[in-house]
């Protein structure tokens, strides 16, 4: 379980999160809010990419303030723009990157690469230059790069924002099929229909925390009072 205990986060004079306390234990959690509401900062706190100015973020009891490296191995993170998270020129090389950081055996690395490429129908692109993939394929590669590290939780920060409708469906289906616990920040309300819980951020605070239908209605009311 991921817990936030009275978390406040500031960038200079700007307070983006104000005393947020949450327990995240459901399998599918959506996070919505207008631009600047603090939801991306919230996501980045979950795997220690950001350490809160005050308060604590605990992942299975481990504190991101002291054990960020260990937590990052447990909490995968998929960013909005896949271009910025594909580090190596060739698909296979990029998939191996995270696993090499985990110091896994080459045989395990090869086996996981083959399995994930097959899962997402990308086997033909194993030796392909990553920059020549389509937008949807790049995002699938980014997700694959996280999946091969076998995380327990995966945080998605607006994973479909840059995609067309077809690829949006493809990615949302891929996310739906994941066995990991998922926390997804998104502006795409359609993706959240069958989620277990949706948290609405507004002005750095949790404005609603409920089942999708109720939370989304509250969000709409906040945007258009």
């Amino acid at each position: 379980m991921i817990e936030l205990q009275d978390v406040t986060h500031r960038f200079g004079d700007l307070t983006v999160l104000k005393g947020v306390t949450l327990e995240l234990s459901e399998r599918r959690i959506g996070v919505i809010g207008s631009n600047g509401s603090g939801k991306s900062t919230f996501a980045r706190l979950l795997n220690g990419l950001q350490i809160p100015t005050s308060g604590h973020v605990l992942v299975d009891g481990q504190n991101t303030r002291h054990q960020a490296r260990a937590i990052r191995r447990k909490v995968g993170f998929v960013f909005q723009n896949p271009e910025n998270q594909i580090v190596f020129p060739i698909v296979e090389e990029d998939l191996a990157f995270g696993m090499k950081n985990l110091k896994l055996d080459q045989s395990v690395i090869s086996q996981r690469i083959d399995a994930v490429l097959e899962r997402y129908d990308l086997t033909a692109f194993k030796q392909h230059p990553a920059h020549l993939l389509s937008g949807g394929q790049k995002q699938l590669l980014a997700i694959s790069g996280v999946l091969v590290m076998d995380p327990k939780y995966i945080v998605f920060d607006e994973p479909t924002t840059l995609l067309d409708l077809r690829n949006k469906r493809r990615i949302s289906q891929a996310i739906a099929e994941l066995s990991q616990s998922v926390v997804m920040v998104t502006h795409d309300l359609d993706l959240l229909g069958d989620f277990d819980r949706v948290i609405v951020f507004h002005d750095g605070r949790v404005a609603a925390d409920d089942v999708p239908r109720v939370a989304i209605n509250r969000y709409k009311a906040l945007l258009c009072p």
């Binding site: 990419l49 490296r69 191995r73 060739i90 296979e92 995270g98 950081n101 392909h128 920059h131």
Partner: protein, 201 residues
């Protein structure tokens, strides 16, 4: 868009990166001890043959020479004036041999294999504080991000044309640099998120 590695299953693709790089060093050094036009031409034919062995097209072969055509021409003319046409031809043949050989290695070797070999080769520099892992990563990333930065440049140029700015280095450079720096920040985050420790302990 540039693409360096050309996937394949040929003998040249399978040859270990270290062997290929060592071969390049040896061939490159030997070339400078040979000044015989016939031998150098023979070597060029062999190198071209190696492209066929690696399943590369003639088009790919010429594509490797295109960027240096002007340099080759200028060198030939300059040498021909100073030392005679034979000397010019020797210089040009040496250069073409070297460029084609180096390009063939790039075309048949994955970046990760190349950097793994490099990492191994520069290990001794660890004694003077150089981190071979970081150097090989920097090289891989430079190759990965060349197409992306050229894409950013193209996008910025297009956006500026749409606003009536045709040619302005400053107007082009500032947004490109800002976007590249922002991208570098995001990449650093993504690498951290994928378990990369800049300072492993």
């Amino acid at each position: 868009m540039m693409s360096l590695y050309s996937p394949g299953e040929t003998a040249l693709h399978r040859l270990p990166a270290g062997t290929k790089l060592l071969g390049l060093v040896l061939a490159g050094t030997s070339l400078f001890f040979v000044a015989d036009i016939v031998v150098l031409s023979g070597a060029l034919i062999l190198v071209c043959g190696a492209y066929l062995v690696a399943n590369m097209t003639v088009k790919t072969l010429f594509a490797q020479l295109r960027p240096i055509l002007w340099i080759v021409l200028i060198l030939f003319v300059a040498q021909a004036f100073i030392n005679g046409w034979q000397a010019g031809l020797v210089v040009v043949l040496r250069l073409m041999n070297l460029i084609l050989l180096a390009a063939l290695i790039t075309l048949t070797t994955r970046v990760s294999e190349m950097t793994d070999t490099l990492e191994w080769a520069i290990q001794p520099l660890g004694w003077v504080g150089v981190d071979p892992r970081k150097i090989s990563l920097v090289i891989s990333m430079a190759i990965r991000f060349i197409p992306l930065i050229s894409q950013i440049t193209a996008e910025v140029r297009e956006a500026q044309r749409a606003r009536g700015i045709e040619k302005s280095i400053v107007a082009l450079a500032i947004p490109v640099v800002i976007r590249t720096l922002k991208m570098a920040d995001d990449i650093a985050d993504a690498m951290e998120a994928r378990g990369f420790d800049a300072d492993p302990r």
